[in-house]
């Protein structure tokens, strides 16, 4: 049980820092007379935020869609491949070195290639980038979760003469869930980055990336900043959804309980 006072103690410091930074930003922009195209004041961004909210959101809808579909495909495939490697060890041994190597490649660099393959206004170009970006961390983490099981647990299951499939469902899969949720958190951020940066390399007019790019090129930096803030809020929302799912799915996990 977290009491009101404790809750306040926990959230007060970051809130104070947040508002201090905003105020400092506002004051400094005014005092130093910083040009709007370099850095608009928070009040200006806030004004643009409310003025352009509906426009930005209709662009954001496209981006969210690419991010979510790509995420589902990438993370889903990652999970399935990991499950397959738990069953067939040779697949794992053949695949893991490549997966780890590819995971350290900045896959976003392939965005122009995807735009070229699918056409920059085709949603598939963004979906594919997001899917590829999210696949590797998901698969690698999931394989770890399925294989890094305390040996004594497996020995105990062996003593019960447990069938391999039941070892998978009763031990390996539950063991992998904390790893799975960690990967989902990483992937939720990567998915939005992938979708937006993919759009910087070309996309339909109604998309967050193209909107930010276009407003910046037209020196409407207040609008660009408002859209950037919406991207940030989307990222946070995405992350919080996964956090909530984690709390429901693995209430037993220490990292959930002790938060």
């Amino acid at each position: 049980m977290i009491t009101g006072a404790l809750r306040f103690q926990r959230y007060a410091p970051p809130l104070i820092v947040f508002f201090a930074v905003i105020v400092l930003w506002e004051v400094l922009v005014d005092l130093l007379n910083i040009q709007r195209f370099l850095l608009p004041a928070p009040s200006v961004i806030l004004e643009a935020f409310f003025r352009t909210f509906s426009t930005i959101m209709s662009s954001a809808a496209y981006t969210i869609r690419s991010a979510v579909i790509g995420f589902l495909i990438g993370a889903g495939t990652g999970i399935l491949v990991a499950l397959a490697t738990a069953r067939w060890t040779t697949i794992r041994e053949g695949l893991m070195p490549f997966a780890i190597a590819l995971n350290s490649v900045p896959i976003i660099a392939f965005a122009p290639i995807m735009n070229n393959w699918f056409g920059s206004t085709n949603p598939m170009s963004k979906i594919m980038i997001v899917a590829i970006i999210t696949f590797f961390p998901m698969m690698i983490n999931m394989v770890r979760g399925l294989t890094l099981v305390e040996p004594a647990k497996l020995e105990l299951m062996h003593s019960y003469a447990t069938a391999p499939f039941e070892v998978l469902t009763k031990v390996r899969i539950p063991n992998s869930l904390p790893y799975l949720f960690n990967a989902l958190k990483v992937c939720s951020t990567l998915a939005l980055i992938g979708a937006i940066v993919g759009e910087y390399f070309g996309g339909p007019r109604e998309s967050l990336g193209v909107y930010i790019l276009q407003e910046a090129q037209l020196f409407r930096f207040d609008n660009a900043w408002a859209a950037i803030i919406i991207s940030a809020l989307l990222g946070i929302a995405f992350y919080l959804i996964i956090l909530a799912a984690e709390r429901v799915a693995i209430p037993w996990h220490v990292s959930v309980e002790k938060r």
């Binding site: 004594a152 647990k153 003593s159 447990t162 009763k170 869930l177 693995i250 996990h253």
Partner: protein
Amino acid sequence: MQSVVLLKNVNKSFGSAGRPTTVALKDINLEIGPREFISLIGPSGCGKSTLLRTIGDLIEVTSGELLVNGKPARQARINREYGMVFQAPVLFEWRTVLKNVELPLEIMGVPKTERTQRARAMLKLVELQNFERHYPWQLSGGMQQRVAIARALAFRPELLLMDEPFGALDEITRERMNAELLRIWQETQTTVVFVTHSIPEAVFLSTRVVVMSARPGRISDIIPIDLPYPRNVETREHPHFFELVTTVREALRKGEEMRET
């Protein structure tokens, strides 16, 4: 009467190509009858765990004959004739206490209601009936180990194999657990093979203490424990208890000396 465990000239060596082999067990002969409580005691590295794990078919013998309930150990394992308790409780973090105890029953296909009923009875036996909905991390080390014991007993195995189950507990908790284990053993009619390196623990619990010595691991002495039942706190203060503790200690020392000569 048929023996529960029968070891005839059992040898076990570890080693792979290119590395020197360790003779973990040499010429082990031991017969354990129904309802016995056997402790294996000896210096660390003398092969106690190895002996226990061969009985449980967690590792294979190199040579010799090993029968559990008259069958090869492997068959006994497949028939689920023994329960195992390790030094660590090895509980599943994602299962509540009750679900942890139910696990072997689940694997053995016991129907849901019966399974819950039996798991509850076992938790009562280890006096944890009020903790069935807790998760393992919410329990102390001693309580976790009691859950592990309840789980091992849940499917009523004829044989209980325990590898230093109380090794990580403090002295006072350990003595309390000893008394509980003895009570459970008497209530459940189980045969127990119990690894320890505590001499008083071995004497207090056992019908016979098997003394082992190292390099190569072998049985150097077997000491029958004729302390009367019920054994309780007073047992530990009985002169005969001290005599038996001394006997086991001397047997351990002799085992060591034999190695040096």
